[in-house]
């Protein structure tokens, strides 16, 4: 028995001893993360270095960011378009600091900026170690600078001064820099990018959508204009990378067409993508962020076609287009107007081909019946404008965002599937804007003939030949005939409005010309009234002049409201952020 006892006890001790060996081995507590990539692995292959730069672009691929903040601001800020739904406070400039789109704008851009800040040393290390060749490394670094610069550009345009984060490892507590120093940083980033990026001519077609030297010059010029450095801006806009490599498309209609994505006029275009087999309904890859599809376009269509109609146009904009300006119905359509998009006409024959129109007409629904009793092919009729189901919209719709023939909005297409989410790219900067900006610079530097020549380039294309020599709106917001516009700066502002409305620039370009200039222009063209916060009837004669309120707002903008409030959540996380005046 005693022997057994010794054997057993010895065994227990031996077993206990073995665990000491297991547990005390250093490696026992050194486990390896098998999810994600360690930083060293990123710089060690060419593929990963490219991916690290691709990720910066990806922050832009976000419907909330593009539509619910940049587009809203660019178009609701000017009153050219209005919101319907839960964000109606944009219509009277009562934007709360808790608005979710502001968070997205702030957060997404700073995440993008950080991705650029992290990518730069990765690219540098990969270049140093020969993992990527110098030309590619330079292009990638240039893209990082470019993207960071554009993000600061929009942040400063929206919020004024914001904190500058240019390194990795920030504690995120920096206070706001001045607006000028942010735009100066944009200039610096673009200058770096100009030396590093490739020319558009060097970029293979499969890489279209990447930043180019030309795009960097365009944003450098724009940033310099915010800094009132019009000479410097002019130099950037006149750079050959821009003037030789980008062109106005001959036909304005093509600029925003679905089958003309990444066209010759486009400088910086956010890319979307429909993967083969990916549904465009709620089961598809639309969720932000990372969603390759966006709800951006069908969001704007009339409620009668999509059940959406979350934004709609101002009849004052529709009225203002000068006689013969082909941009009008390619920007805003109203009662009695047919769609002009060749892609939509080819696919659907116009409004008349959309599923709810076909079904509605068949069931005798007057909404889908033209005034002559045939199936409707216009965006509402002159006698029955499309005000939406609550009669809360003006009857006018953004035609620039109605180009993707694959979409059916909140209805099933002929394939029995919903097509709500689309893959149409979103153009943030195109050559026409550069030419108009250049015109403003020429005005500012007293080269009026030069400015007029630039305006003529854009206007001639708009008329599809030769534009009238005298510039004037057809009618003002009240329907009174427009007067000739003779002041050179006002001519440029009017062209910003008529060329770029419904895209991502107008409000910013107006504010860039000066807060007072923007406030005066917006309030004047819309007949805006201080303290008028509720909808008013359309004062202009026409099909929607029925004395009733249909979502038309005439709230006057104030200088304070040209800046957005710093999001409450950003201020909660960084107590050093001050709020803009008026919020």
């Amino acid at each position: 028995m005693k022997r057994i006892k010794i054997i057993i006890i010895f065994s227990i001790v031996a077993v206990a001893g073995s665990i000491i060996i297991v547990a005390c081995k250093k490696s026992f507590l050194n486990q390896t993360n098998t999810f994600g990539l360690p930083p060293d692995a990123v710089a060690s292959t060419k593929d990963n270095v490219i991916k690290a730069v691709n990720a910066i672009y990806d922050t832009y691929q976000n419907s909330d960011l593009l539509k619910k903040c940049i587009w809203y601001r660019a178009n609701f800020g000017t009153h050219d378009f209005f919101n319907w739904g839960a964000d109606v406070f944009w219509n009277n400039y009562q934007i709360p600091s808790t608005f979710v789109g502001l968070n997205t704008l702030w957060n997404q851009f700073y995440i993008g900026i950080a991705r650029a800040n992290y990518a730069l040393p990765v690219v540098a290390k990969a270049k140093e170690n020969g993992v990527v060749d110098a030309a590619l490394a330079d292009r990638l670094a240039g893209e990082a600078y470019f993207l960071r610069g554009t993000m600061y550009y929009y942040l400063a345009a929206c919020f004024g001064g914001v904190p500058l984060e240019l390194q990795t490892g920030s504690n995120g507590l920096a206070p706001r820099s001045s607006r000028d120093s942010v735009f100066q940083q944009v200039v610096l980033d673009m200058q770096q990018a100009e030396t590093l990026l490739w020319s558009k001519t060097e970029l293979p077609a499969v890489e279209l959508g990447r930043a180019t030297k030309g795009a960097a010059y365009a944003y450098e010029g724009a940033a310099r204009m915010w800094l009132k450095d019009y000479e410097g801006a002019l130099a950037a806009f006149n750079n050959q990378e821009l003037t030789a490599n980008y062109h106005l498309l001959p036909n304005f209609v093509d600029v925003n067409e679905y089958d003309h994505q990444n066209n010759d006029e486009s400088l910086f275009e956010i890319q979307f993508y429909l993967k083969p087999g990916d549904p465009q309904d709620w089961g598809g890859s639309w969720q932000p962020p990372g969603g390759e599809l966006g709800w951006i376009d069908s969001f704007s269509w009339p409620n009668e076609i999509t059940q959406q109609g979350y934004d709609y146009g101002n009849p004052a904009l529709w009225n203002s287009y000068q006689q013969g300006d082909k941009r009008k119905l390619l920007t805003i359509v109203g009662p009695g107007d047919e769609l002009r998009s060749p892609g939509i006409i080819a696919k659907w024959g116009g409004v008349k081909g959309y599923p709810p129109v076909v079904a509605g007409f068949a069931s005798g629904n007057q909404t889908y019946t033209a005034d002559d009793g045939t199936i409707i092919n216009t965006v509402g009729t002159l006698t029955r404008p499309w005000y939406g189901d609550d009669k809360g919209r003006t009857g006018y719709v953004c035609a620039k965002k109605w180009r993707d023939p694959n979409l059916t909005g909140n209805y099933n297409g002929p394939d029995g599937k919903g097509h709500i989410f689309g893959d149409q790219n979103q153009i943030l900067m195109r050559y026409a804007e550069v030419i108009l900006s250049r015109a403003e610079c020429k005005v500012r530097t007293n080269d009026i003939p030069g400015a007029m020549a630039d305006l003529k380039l854009v206007r001639d294309r708009a008329w599809g030949g030769t534009a009238p020599a005298v510039m004037q709106d057809s009618a003002d917001y009240k329907g009174n005939p427009g007067q000739p516009i003779t002041d050179p700066l006002q001519m440029v502002l009017s062209e910003y409005r008529h060329e770029l409305s419904g895209e991502y620039s107008t409000f910013f370009d107006l504010c860039r010309a000066g807060t007072d200039v923007a406030v005066e222009f917006i309030n004047r063209v819309n007949g805006a009234v201080q303290g008028s916060y509720n909808p008013v009837p359309n004062p202009a004669p026409g099909p929607t002049h029925d004395g009733l309120k249909h979502g038309l707002y005439n709230t006057a903008i104030t200088p304070n409201w040209t800046l957005l409030p710093i999001p409450q959540s950003a201020r909660a996380a960084n107590p050093n952020l001050t709020q803009n005046d008026g919020y």
Binding site: M1, K5, A16, I20, A23, F28, L29, N30, F35, G36, L37, P38, P39, A52, N54, A55, D58, W84, G85, A86, D87, V88, F89, Q94, P96, T98, A114, N117, Y118, P163, S170, L173, G209, R210, Q261, Q271, Y273, K275, D281, W282, G283, S285, P289, G290, D389, D390, K391, G392, N410, Y411, N412, K417, D423, N534, H550, T558, Q568, A572, A573, N574
Partner: protein
């Protein structure tokens, strides 16, 4: 039947008992001795008690009971027997006029001789130097509970148990000595189940198997568990076999659960009337209700609450056999628990098997094995929170939706739906349809096994090796068929696509511990030592994904289209793949006692964890405690009213690493995913299509943080244990001061860092508190016994520092309160203030006139008193707290503390002959509730998107109109108005007193007399009826004031967002022992 039972037939009150004692004393001198035979049994289950001391009062004559509980003693004719057994209240029994007695001893939870499990060993309660609360099987048996932590509620002072919601399966938050961590799930105690430390899976254990639960509260007691001990340690010991005794027990109950309290909501006619009123007063002219709402009398009401709530049913069966000989003892049990919840589709089902095997191979060699297996299937498709409160705000009519029916579900099986085209209603769904047509499964297979071998090398010197394994396999699927109903009727309107989702994950963990212990008494000195090493390794493997199934029958991921893998497996922060986590530890504890008067304990544990980087892997956690048993000092020995008195003091440092995931110290790039993988911002796919050709992307997911280290809790405890009336009355009080330093948190980060959250050591916190518990066991002879138990706790919690750059922490933990109005910022924990305080505007009332608004605007710097909205009469008026003549973000303030000022339980037990009764109250005082549901019930406009919400009758009748100038209820606003009016932002309006007193349990039992049962070989048969949650006394206007921490986060505590409500249970049960 020779062993007759002696049941006294009359109640003896105290006076007559005294008289009897006097008589017996006086008569003793003259009496002749006689032989008295008897038996001692445990009152609660009639089991024989061996080793109980029997002494004739006033003499030195004494004996002990044998294994079958019997004894024989010579006593005077009028003698009195003093009966005392370990763990039982002493009893005196007169033997006048009888020679045969049966004594039923009442168990005493706080008895000084009771054995307390202290981690790697046991101690008698009288020798304990730390703060430990214990709960026994007898107490657990009283209340039918699903999980054992529910059984702890109110039973242990200093332990706050809150049923976060009443869904089947129990979602319980356990807080031992306050909030030490802000992190979601960061306050969970360590559970040690039959020696196996684990942090989860507690609801896999059948409460019927529990013998005792010991809660180690202070750091001197918990330090032996080192880095996992900061939130206290709950030690669970399951029932073991008894020597030379066989017992078969059957515990059965069925419980009916009533439908819960419901909100008083508008019917279709009232709703339509409100809609018409809003339409008439809409200043934007854009609100138009559904056309049919203009004729309210034509509408049909649907009652969503009636449709979704139902009567619940719970069945519980547990059968066990326990027994053994001298060498082998076993306990085996099988349990079946099946709860059908009060919300449609919700259920919790568990099969459990438990086997304990103890084998004393030789006098010096012993092995113990414990195996627990459970199978669990549970589901709660409408969840708790948003899914349920949606019921209240769904419009109360389905008219103009489906042409087949206006009902939720008609007799032909048609489900109604809302009009898919009208924006007032098209965002609403019929939850009954989804619950009844979707298929769900959430199955867990759980095994926890430990086996130890212990050898005694020398007298008192033992070595032990203990190996354990814990396997948890989880598998779930969710199949939602395609819904074409609306599309068929409204051509072209969107079809809800089918969806199939499947997740499987598996955890395998092993534990290996080796200890050496030495216990020795020499003279007046006693030494107990235990030292050991431990290693634990956890391997988690998981995979999940979903897509569109090829048919409504196919549950095959390889057959789905658009397969999307989960970026994070639900319930984890980990992707598809494998993670390994390891712990290695060394520990020792030395206890020294002198003369049963002075006790000192020192503990040291060194823990290493793979969660931290080299240099921070190891933490060392020391503790020490002293106790002085004053009662044994000569100056108190003779004080007869004081049965025992001990004071304790201890200090210790313990750790917490649970709040963070693995590898948070490493920089990491994430992404690299195919184009159709969606997810949170940090799990963005990061790729981008250039000219419609997708290219992958990777981006920084988290920055390096090599300095990341464990949290340290420094805790001081001073306690007193006293007993009076021969131990019938016990009293324990503790004061503690707990400093939690460097607490770990994945904290919201400024976006300028490039990350939305960062894992850091964020700050420090303090909890100070007092805990009291008292128990009294009394009675008159064997017919009537009663007990009163009270626990009372007060804790003051304060955040003492934050290192993240702000002086507060916002709510975090994932609770989403829908809305654009700042409902993402509803609590702020400021330095110097309690954690989780509600934060918002101070509401003054309602604007009564335009002049009132104009006057405020006239004084405001920008001409608007409340920027961000255009106020009109009927809107809510908030206070300008900083005096800048406008109300903005800066005017928000602390509007209520969700932590109670004190909480506690009151337990009343009594037995009279065969009858027993238990009343158990639980109460909490001084906590505040943020009634988010109420803010929705006062809002006609759907929050966060478009639509018309139902509201409460109270709001409908009282809301502001020009003719009804309410100063409490704002005007009713249409679609979108809720977002632009800012009436319903987080504010003091939604804060309510959350104090309550609940009768948690009332049970009445009857034990069938043994003589009626003996022919069936039944030793004991008790039948009982009980009711849980019979009544609640509270001022709270919502459904249930017992609201815990959502998602286990202290920063989202006390928020009523429509949690799964509790309701009354009526239970019938029986306990049978063979």
């Amino acid at each position: 039947m020779k062993k007759t039972r002696f049941i006294k037939n009359h109640v003896i009150n105290k006076a007559s008992l005294m008289l009897l004692l006097l008589l017996s004393l006086s008569s003793q001198l003259f009496a002749q001795n006689k032989t008295v035979i008897g038996k001692v049994v445990a009152n609660e289950n009639d089991s024989a008690l061996a080793g109980v001391s029997i002494r004739v009062k006033g003499t030195n004559t004494g004996t002990f009971t044998k294994n079958d509980g019997s004894f024989s003693i010579s006593a005077p004719e009028n003698g009195v027997l003093l009966i005392s057994g370990v763990g039982y209240v002493n009893q005196e029994v007169s033997v006048k006029g009888t020679t045969s007695v049966t004594v039923r001893l009442v168990s005493d939870v706080q008895n000084l001789q009771q054995v307390v499990v202290i981690g790697y060993g046991t101690q008698k309660r009288k020798d304990v130097t730390g703060s430990i609360s214990s709960v026994t099987a007898a107490q657990i048996e009283k209340i039918p509970v699903t999980t054992l932590d529910q059984a702890l509620q109110g039973r242990a002072a200093g332990v706050q148990i809150v049923n976060n919601d009443a869904s089947p399966g129990g979602n319980v938050s356990v807080l031992i000595r306050g909030i030490g961590s802000i992190a979601p799930g960061g306050n969970q105690p360590l559970y040690v189940v039959d020696g196996y430390p684990t942090t989860g899976g507690i609801n896999n254990i059948n409460p019927n198997d529990i013998a005792t639960i010991d809660v180690l509260k202070d750091a001197s007691a918990t330090a032996i568990y080192g880095i996992r001990a900061a939130n206290g340690v709950v030690i669970i010991t399951t029932k073991k076999g008894l020597k030379n005794k066989m017992q078969v027990s059957l515990d059965v109950y069925d419980a009916i659960q009533t439908e819960p309290k419901k909100y008083d909501l508008l019917n279709a006619q009232q709703f339509a009337a409100l809609s018409n009123e809003v339409e008439a007063s809409d200043s934007t002219g854009t609100y138009h209700g559904l056309p049919i709402w203009h004729t309210p009398e034509a509408l049909h009401t649907v009652d969503w609450q009636d449709a979704v709530y139902r009567r619940g049913l719970t069945q519980n069966y547990s059968i066990g056999i326990r027994g053994g000989g001298d060498k082998v003892q076993t306990a085996m049990s099988f349990g079946y628990y099946d709860q059908k919840g009060i919300v449609i589709g919700s259920f919790f089902k568990r099969y459990s098997l438990n086997l304990n095997l103890d084998y004393q191979a030789t006098s010096w060699l012993k092995s113990s094995t414990s195996v627990k297996y459970s199978y669990q299937d549970a589901n709660n498709p409408l969840g708790t929170g948003p899914g349920l409160f949606q019921l209240a705000i769904n419009p109360p009519t389905l008219d103009s939706g489906s042409r087949l029916t206006y009902q939720i579900k008609d007799a032909n099986g048609n489900y109604g739906f809302y009009n898919p085209l009208n924006p007032n209603v098209n965002k609403f769904n019929n939850p009954v349809y989804s619950v009844e047509t979707n298929q769900y499964q959430n199955v867990t297979n759980y095994v926890l096994a430990t086996s130890s071998l212990e050898a005694t090398l020398y007298d008192g010197l033992r070595i032990k090796t203990n190996f354990g394994a814990n396997v948890n396999n989880f598998s779930s699927f969710y199949l939602q068929p395609e819904d074409t109903r609306a599309a068929q009727q409204y051509p072209g309107s969107v079809t809800t696509p089918a969806n199939y989702h499947q997740t499987i994950n598996r955890t395998f963990e092993w534990l290996w511990e080796n200890t050496i212990s030495y216990d020795h008494t020499f003279g007046l000195h006693t030494i107990n030592f235990v030292g050991g090493i431990s290693a634990q390794k956890n391997t988690w493997t998981g995979m999940g994904g979903g897509g569109i199934p090829s048919s409504n029958l196919t549950r095959d991921l390889s057959n789905v289209t658009n397969l999307v893998l989960d970026p994070n497996i639900p319930g984890t922060n980990t992707g598809n793949g494998q993670n390994v986590y390891t712990l290695a530890s060394q520990f020792a504890r030395l206890t020294y006692q002198f003369a049963d008067k002075y006790m000192i304990t020192g503990t040291l544990r060194r823990d290493g964890s793979s969660k931290f980087d080299t240099g921070h892997k190891y933490g060392t956690f020391p503790s020490a405690a002293v106790a002085w048993r004053i009662k044994n000092e000569s100056f108190l020995k003779a004080v007869s009213w004081l049965y025992d008195l001990k004071i304790r003091g201890g200090y210790g440092e313990v750790g917490n690493e649970s709040p963070i995931g693995l590898f948070q110290y490493q920089a990491l790039y994430v992404g690299n995913r195919p184009s159709n993988v969606n997810g949170g911002i940090n799990n963005d796919n990061m790729g981008y299509p250039f000219n419609k050709i997708y290219q992958n992307g990777v981006g920084p997911g988290q920055p390096a943080n090599p300095a990341l280290k464990w949290e340290t809790d420094k805790q001081t405890d001073i306690g007193i244990d006293a007993a009076f009336l021969n131990g019938a009355l016990t009293f324990t009080a503790d004061w503690f001061n707990r400093d939690s330093k460097d607490f770990l948190l994945q904290l919201t980060a400024p976006a300028q860092t490039g990350f939305l959250t960062l894992t850091r050591n964020v700050g420090s916190m303090n909890n100070k508190g007092v805990e009291l518990s008292a128990n009294y066991r009394g009675g008159s002879g064997k017919d009537f016994q009663y007990g009163i138990g009270v626990t009372w706790t007060t804790i003051k919690n304060k955040l003492t520092s934050i290192t993240s750059g702000t002086d507060f922490v916002q709510n975090l933990g994932g609770l989403i309160l829908n809305g654009f109005q700042g409902w993402d910022d509803f609590t702020r924990s400021y330095v110097g203030r309690p954690v989780g305080e509600f934060y918002g505007y101070q509401a003054i009332g309602i604007y009564q006139s335009q002049k009132q608004i104009d006057d405020l605007n006239a004084n405001a710097p920008e001409g608007i008193y409340r920027p961000g909205t255009v106020a009109l009469p009927g809107d809510r008026y908030f206070a300008d707290l900083n005096g800048d003549h406008k109300v903005d973000d800066e005017d928000r303030t602390h509007i209520g503390n969700p932590q109670p000022k004190f909480f506690g339980g009151l337990n009343l037990d009594a037995n009279y002959r065969a009858w027993d009764i238990n009343l158990y109250f639980y109460g909490s005082y001084g906590s505040k509730i943020l009634n988010y549901v109420e803010s929705n019930l006062e809002s006609f406009a759907k929050r966060g998107s478009e639509g018309a919400d139902n509201v409460s009758v109270e709001y409908y009748q009282n809301h502001w109109t020009p003719t009804n100038p309410s100063n409490r209820y704002a005007r009713a606003l249409p679609n979108g108005g809720d977002n632009s009016s800012l009436n319903n932002v987080p504010s003091s309006v939604w804060i309510e007193d959350g104090s309550f007193l609940k009768l948690k349990n009332l049970s009445i039992g009857y034990t069938v007399p043994a003589n009626l049962l003996s022919r069936f070989s039944i030793t004991r048969l008790r039948v009982y009826v009980s009711s849980q949650n019979l009544f609640t006394i509270t001022k709270y206007s919502g459904l249930d004031p017992e609201i815990g921490m959502q998602g286990g986060s202290a920063t989202q505590n006390g928020v009523d967002n429509g949690t799964y409500p509790s309701s009354r249970y009526f239970t019938f049960g029986l306990n049978v022992t063979f």
